[in-house]
Symmetry: C2
Subunit: 132 residues, 2 copies
DNA sequence: CCGTATCCGATCCGATACTG
DNA sequence: CAGTATCGGATCGGATACGG
């Protein structure tokens, strides 16, 4: 994915960014704070190093993620959300997360949610009562 | 794009939905209210009927969009956001829109924004002063 | 006006091998 | 640990034609 330079609609460009397979998950992981490449690689199940690096580079180009490199060996870098756009974008991602939870509850995928500690049985029951 | 049935992470599924080329724009258009197919086709520049129908079907499968069919000729249908998930998702899309605007302003793509009536010169100047 | 089917090039992404 | 390069299959999306 290459960021063009002739966008006429803001959504177009954001969408070009978000469509990569791993971007939302990466942003969501970085919500917890700065992380190293290997850390992200461990925490994001199924991602390859190549993909991770590619997606991070694009997020950086778009000003959602910034990179800090430390001197010395072993090499160490830290990726984190940018103050303005990165943080803002994570707000959107967080809402999308809620929408996903809603869908999973409605379609009886509760177990996966509970196993991952994303919600508790009690919260699901509450939502169920509200939905009817 | 097919919605799987073995998701373990809410973001995964939302991302599967959002990655299609036109979904965010369709959702954003529907924010204004129910619209017919042909109306959407006219308003979304560059989209083909095939794509529009495909994406609408997926949005419907995921419970973001609902469809209402009217009797008689000429045929008429109305697509609209669903009350809970559709409306919620558009909140996320709106935030993404803001992020896109931010990017375009920072990268001197003001003209496109102003031409489309998305923001005014004054608003941009204000943002510029805040950003420095 | 609304919807389905097919064909085909563009792109995405995973695996793998290699460098500083 | 962090990053680059390449290759090939899978998927996506545009064009086009056809049907209710």
């Amino acid at each position: 994915m290459k960021i063009r330079d002739d966008y006429t609609c803001p959504l177009e460009i954001v969408h070009d960014i978000i469509r990569g397979k791993w971007k939302t998950i990466i942003l969501y992981q970085l919500k917890e704070g700065p992380k190293s490449l290997s850390q992200l690689e461990r925490e994001i199940e199924g991602i390859s190093q190549k993909m991770l690096l590619e997606q991070l580079a694009e997020l950086k180009d778009f000003g959602l993620v910034q990179k800090k490199e430390f001197e010395g060996y072993p090499l160490h870098v830290e990726y984190s959300l940018t103050d303005r756009r990165g943080q803002k974008m994570v707000e959107a991602v967080s809402i999308m997360q809620m929408v996903g939870v809603d869908y999973m509850i409605e379609n009886n995928m509760d177990d996966a949610l509970i196993n991952k500690g994303i919600v508790t049985r009690e919260q699901i029951d509450k939502v169920r009562r509200e939905q009817g």
